[in-house]
Structure formats: C-alpha cells, structure tokens
Symmetry: C2
Subunit: 534 residues, 2 copies
Amino acid sequence: MTSLHGKHLIAGERRRDAEAQHRATQAATGEALDPAVADASAAEIDAAFAAAVAAHRALDPLVEPDLAAKTAAFLEAIGAHIEGLGDALVERATAETGLPQGRIVGERGRTINQLRSFAALVREGSWVGARIDRALPERQPIPRPDLRRMLVPVGPVVVFGASNFPLAFSVAGGDAASALAAGCPVIAKAHPSHPGTSELVGEAITAAARECAMPAGVFSLVHGPSHAVGQALVRHPSARAVGFTGSLRGGRALLEAAASRPDPIPVFAEMGSVNPVVFLPGALRERGAALATQAAGSITLGVGQFCTNPGVLLVPAGETGDAFVAGLAEALGAAGAGVMLDPNILAGYRRGVEARAASAHAERVPLTCAGPETRGLPALFTTTATALAADPSLREELFGPASLVVRWRDADDLLAALEGFEGQLSATVHAAENSDDAGLVRRVAPVLSRRVGRLLFGGFPTGVEVCPSMQHGGPWPASSDARTTSVGTAAIERFARPLCLQSAPAALVPPALQDQNPLGLLRLVDGVPTRDAL
Amino acid sequence: MTSLHGKHLIAGERRRDAEAQHRATQAATGEALDPAVADASAAEIDAAFAAAVAAHRALDPLVEPDLAAKTAAFLEAIGAHIEGLGDALVERATAETGLPQGRIVGERGRTINQLRSFAALVREGSWVGARIDRALPERQPIPRPDLRRMLVPVGPVVVFGASNFPLAFSVAGGDAASALAAGCPVIAKAHPSHPGTSELVGEAITAAARECAMPAGVFSLVHGPSHAVGQALVRHPSARAVGFTGSLRGGRALLEAAASRPDPIPVFAEMGSVNPVVFLPGALRERGAALATQAAGSITLGVGQFCTNPGVLLVPAGETGDAFVAGLAEALGAAGAGVMLDPNILAGYRRGVEARAASAHAERVPLTCAGPETRGLPALFTTTATALAADPSLREELFGPASLVVRWRDADDLLAALEGFEGQLSATVHAAENSDDAGLVRRVAPVLSRRVGRLLFGGFPTGVEVCPSMQHGGPWPASSDARTTSVGTAAIERFARPLCLQSAPAALVPPALQDQNPLGLLRLVDGVPTRDAL
C-alpha cells in the first residue's frame, strides 16, 4: 500500500501544525489504521482560505478568458489521477469503510464519471445561462442599455466528506466536482472515518492542479476529527458556500453556524430521509414475492447505509400484505449481517434499533439472521397507519439495514399516513397497470410529489443515476434547499451566481457574452434561445 | 376616491377580527388617512394559510394539466384589473407615499408590464427547465430508468410590501408576480405606510382570481402594522418561502425567524446597498460637468429612496475631481428638498445625516438648498480613501438623497478602498475610451464584479430594466441569496423546485414532460436542447 503522510494539503503543500492523534479504524476488525491525523489549526485554515481567495481572483471570467477550457481539463486530470491511484485507493477505502471491493470499484467509476460529466458540461459551456438584451437607444420614454448576464463562481467552497461515500461524496465527490466545475476553489474537510482515502484523493487533485497550472489555492484538504474544524471552516470570513452530506443533526449545526455569520452563506446540506415506498394491492397480487425480495435487497444494499435507503414501506392490510411481509422478513434474514462504516455508525444503528423495539407503537418482526455484535444486523418493524401518527420518531431515519412496515386499511388511511411525512429525497409507488391501483395512484402521486425531490413509479430508491434529469434533494429535512440537487449536472448551479454587465465595452466582455458567441453557447438573446452570433 | 374598507382579504373574503387602530399618513402633510387597519389575528393568518395550502394542492402540475395557461391568464387579468383602478389608485398611492403622480403612473406601468412579462414567460413555458433522460434498458452493468425533471411550485409564499415601491415591489409587485407565475399561492403583507394602495391592488388581484376561477386561497392580503404579524407569517408552518425588499435590519430579522423554524425556509431579501460609482480621471476630464449633473439627478431621483441610489462616489484627488465635486454640490443644491415616503423614513434620514456630519472621518459639503423640516434635503459628504477605512459606518446605506464622495490618490488607493466594500446590488465605472483610464478599468472591473450583481460601465445605477438579463441582487448584504434576482424574469426561479419523475406511466406525466412535447417547450433530452418530440 502507498505510504501515507497524514498531513493536510494546503494549496499544494503538506503541512501539519498540531500533533497527530486521531487514527481511523479498520471497519472489519476495529484495529487502528496509520497514519494519525490532526485537527487543522487556525493558521492552516487561514492559509487555505488565503490561497483560495487568490485562486478565486485568478479564476474569474473577467480575468481568465479560457476559464471553461482550463476548468474542464482540470476536472479530467483529476479523474485520470484518481484512476492512476489504482489498487492502493481501493485497498485503503475498503479497509477504512468496510465496504466490499466491488462497491468501491463501482464508486470509483462513478466518481470519475461525475468528474468527466462536469468537464463535458463546462467544456460545452451553456450552463452559464448567458442572456443578452441588446441596447434599444431609440426606445421611449427612455432608452434600454445593453445588458449581458452570466453565471460566475461564488468563491471558496467548503466541502464536507461523507462517511458513506468515501469517493463519490467525499474529497473529489459530487460536491467538490460541481464546485470546481463552477470555477470555485474548494477546501475539502476529510471525513475522520476515512482520512487515508481522503489523502490519496487529495494528492490526486493536487497533482492534477499542478499539471494543469491551476492556481495552487484551487484546492486544499484539511483534516478535522473534532467538530471545531468544521465550524471554523463554515464561519471563516472567506467561505462563500458549503456542501455537506450527512446527518440532520450535523447539517443543522452547520446551517446554524452559517446563518449566524455577520454575512450568512448558503449551506447545501443533504440530510436524513426515510424514502417511503407505497405498495398498492394490485402490485402485491401481481408480483408480491418478487417485490419482497427486491425490497430486502434495497434495504440491505451497502448495509443500509444509503441516504436513499427505503426506511418505511406502506403495505395494505390483509393476506396479500401479510405474505409480502413474511417474504420480506425471510429475505432480510437470509441477507445476514454486514460490516458497517465505522464504530460510531454501528453503535448509533444498534441504539436506534433498540429504541424502535421499545416503542409502544411498533413491533419488531423476528428475523432468522444472527451475527457478531460487531456487525449490522437487518431489522424489521411493523406498525399501523394509526399508530404511526402517535409516534413521530417512527418517521425518523434509522441509518442502517432496517425498515418499518406500515400497514394501511384503505385509501384514506394511506393518504393520511402519507400527509404526515416531512420532506424526503424520494418516494416510490408500486402499482399494477390495468388494475384498481390506477385510481389510487392518481391520488397518492401528488401527495408524495409535494414532499419529495424524486418520485419513482416502480423500482426502489437506492441507485441514483448521475445525469441531467436527476434530482437528489427535497424539502426539509431531506435537504436544506429543495431548489438544489447534489447529484447530476444541475448540482453546479449551487456554486454560481448571476452577474449582469451593463453597457460593457467589448474588450471587457467575457467570451460567453461576446457578440460573436465564440464558444457557440446556447444563449437567450432578446428573450429568444439561440446559438447565433449577434 | 373609491371608498376603502381597511380589512384583510383572506382568500377572497374581507375580514378584520381586531380593532382597527393604525392609519397611514399623508406623506406631504402628515395628516392621518382613513381607513384604519389592524394587525391580522392568528386566526386570520391561519385561515389565509389553510386556503393557500388548498390552492397549492389544486395548482399542481400533476393535478392541473392547464396550470401554465391558467396562471398566465390570471397574471394578465391582475394587470387588467390594476389598470381598471384608474385614477383612484394613482391618487391614493400619491397621497400615501408623497411620490409625484408621474412616478406613480410610471410605476403602475412597470408593475403591469412585469405581470405581462411573467405571463408571457409562463405561457411559453420553457422556464420549467424540462429535462428528460430516456430509459436505457440494455445498459451494462445496470439499465438506466426513464427520468424526467421539471420545476414545480414550492408552495405558499409570503410577500412583504416595500415602502419605496408601493406598486412595483408591493402587493402585485415583482415578488408577488414571480411567485404567482411559479404557480405558488401568495400571502401578501401590506406595508403599513400604504395600506390603502395595498387594499386597492389586493382587491384587483382578488377580482382577477375570481374571474379566472383560480382557487380562492391563491391570494390573501393581510395588514400588520406591528412586526409581530411579519414574524408570524414567516414562522407559520405552511409558509414555504418569503420575498422581502427593505432594510438590512428588517431582512436579517426575517432571516433569523426563518432559520430558527423547525423546518427552515428561504427568505429572499433584497436589502441595503450603497452602489459605489467610480470616476476615472479621463472620464472627468472628458465630461466632468455633465457627470456631476447626472450624478445629482441619480442621487435625488425619488428623493434618494431607491435601493440603487449611488451612495458612494469615488473621485480622484486633484483639480478635475475638485471641479466635479463643486459641480455636484451645485446641482444637489439646485435639486432642493423632497417629500419622503413616511415620517419614519424622514426621521431616519435626518438622524443618518447628522451622524455622518458628526463623523471625524467625513466632512459635510455645504449645499445651497434649504427647505422645511418636513422634507428630505440633499446632503453631500467627502472623505478620503484612507479615512473611509477608519469608519465602517461610512460604507453603510443612508436611505435618502445623500451621497459620500471618496477622494483617491492613485490606483492602489482606489483598489484598496474598493476591496473594503461588502456586497452591493450594483457598482459603476466611468472611464473614457482611448485614454489612460483603459488600464485602470481592467483592474477595477474584477474587484467590483466580485461584490455586485450588476456592473455598469457608464450611466448611473438608478433605473433598473425589467428583462431576462437583469440581475437585481448581490452578495450579502445586498441580498440574502446572491444566486437570485428580484427583478426580471429570472426572479421566478426563487419559487420553484425540481421534481424528478422516475419511470412514470404516461398517463401521470404532466404536459411539460410528455413524449409529444405538446407545449412545444425547449427541453434538454438526453443532454441535448431541443423542441422536438421524443
């Protein structure tokens, strides 16, 4: 395995002011993994931001006419350097997270694809939303000036690595890739459960920045095992936006820190979700056994450690529903225990399962599986739509391979239960075509759609496609800003803001807004979309 | 004049639970104006939101296939009903605000044009940003599902009327028009300085809603002379977003209320700005006298009560600059005193002028004008770039016909002064072509662009064009979210969020996302913009 140094990467320089005391844990064995890392010092954080501010000034569409091409090349180089890490990255990520090698290899592919997809978006360039309204000097009662508007980078972005996606939502994950794609410098905070993976990826980005002659401050990586580092990053005067994927509690703490700044900044936090899945009677009659197996697969995928994990299943009362629950319990039992990401997450999961088992409003379904205390065992609970209303904790996320079956009697019972849910990343309806389900799905869909970012008809919510149409984000508490997504190319919009130039001399107009449209962008000219020159 | 009732309009019904005790003031005379209004009660606020929630459910793209056409017709009908108010509206608004009749007539025209421009945007329909990624059932290792994404309304929006735009930024102003255009119900809070104008416009919207068979809860108007009503609106569980134009203090209070909700919601607040105007030496040599007259006109336009008022002018040291300041002082003196919007604003302006006059770091320039104590007198101050750094209060907005001239010695002095400014709605540079200004403007423009939403080359910032390219909003404290604008068609984006439908049956897909593209929208299909059917 490549030898690791455990230092921060501050604008291309390795540095560590404080004594390194924190080590990650090998997820499968509980053993400590070298090297140790330390909290970033205030001086290190200041240095990262000072370099980021300088990079922001250099990566300015008014200053750097080749910003799009440079950025695209940089994103592609990051992908190539991550690929170049080879097995060392897979081994370290597997050790730190307990995720199987196949999953890490797949996640690496997704991470590189994300970088390439943002590179393609930036190279094409129309994402800047160029709009031009030409001067109307003869207009009465007053002339109209020439107005040209495009998106520009917001400035230094703080990105928090997520424990459950050591690659795709960490140092070079979706938040970092979209911020860099927007032209923003990134200061990444490594997740303390995978500091080695973070270092490897951070070195890959640093090498790519050097290779592409980007300003060094375009990227820094800091470690921060204690919460103080995260707070300091969000409160730093030079931070302009924050990307976070994690728990509701963690996200809320960052939001409060950001809102209490003298100059509040946005925190794009993707937080908890139970992703309700509604089964209608026709669907269960048609394919109940298969759905039970698929549901168990979705619940236990990645040992339940996905934000799109189906945490609540709404199943009709009666025999068909009973058979589905029995099949689900059998399949969950067969799935067995899995290694969870880190000891804190395992402990949190076990506490959550015990608390739910103790609820007067839910019952635990016995499963056949057993396993060592060091692993996450699937868990299944049942309740009724009525009882669900009595215990709001049942609608909270239980991070791990657990799900709650809610039995409903009739359409009104189901709809009332659905109205009780807060915002979700996703919701799913299973309905049979050409059955009685058709009328009900028309009533269920709008109730769900008002609470979610993504509404699935069939299938299961785990497995989030990375493409322009994806929406990964939803009303609170699924995410802090339902108008944004953290997956898919639209994620770039979080880190850019419009700038309007009025009557700008031609020599000062960036390529995206020039008369001749040298980049061939799709632009809105006098209200009409076109790729034509003026 | 039409007789006014002074009641709230709750989903089409006139209602007033509390005793009416607050009267507006005739701005020019200080006399109280009938009728009195009262704070909305908790029950009235609840009723408005309950109706708004019902309207939101009805105005859902999954439920109402003709949403775009209905919304466009509604916006046009509002414009027609406001036009139909005729002289009564102009008279009342003039009395309540002290703004001259010509200004009110112009603002009415702008307000109606805004409504029509949003109607056209919604009727064309592409603003929903439809994206379709078709299913790839044969893809390896896993198939891609069919994904379709569009913007949907966020839900009930609270709109605060602004004192300085009784029509264009109040009950049917830009915030309300963009929220309604997005398909959201609006609960408008009348500004207490123009309750009668608010009532007239509120009745026009109510009549339009009835005529267009919109759900009654699509619009409510509540009065709230005390801050408690605004707080209650922002904290109401059913509120989904807030639009506000006003002071930094007022905006911050609403932001804090929204951030401390169990489920935080966005507040789109357009707040203070001093809109720095930089004069380079060549420009002053070429046309200094004309610029002085134009600057005075911009400073005193609307008695200085515009958020784009040029509050700081950066003028080079030396004779050309001296002549400019002398010309400016003369023109401001000639402009004379004006009636301000209400007694509180006048008192605030007078206090601000006195405080600035008392600053050890600025000097008051004597002006020839005089006037009654009941009017706002122009005021001019000077300081140096060095002294500006010593007193941060000099960079704060002074709402009224005042400006501060900052004399700078050389390029470094100027650039250092500019780096000290916080976020601004706008900044302006005056430079002469083919002069020494050319080099300096290249250095000044990026420094300004990083702090503003709109950067002007020549001209003055007052006068904000309503068009797709406009950006009215900037980094904090100019606005609470620099990624948004409150003027121009892009303002609609504040009140919509993406919804992704995965594998939706054709019968449930809204028109914007249907295979045949029946609305003829510009859509992104498999990453390519097109108006073609699938």
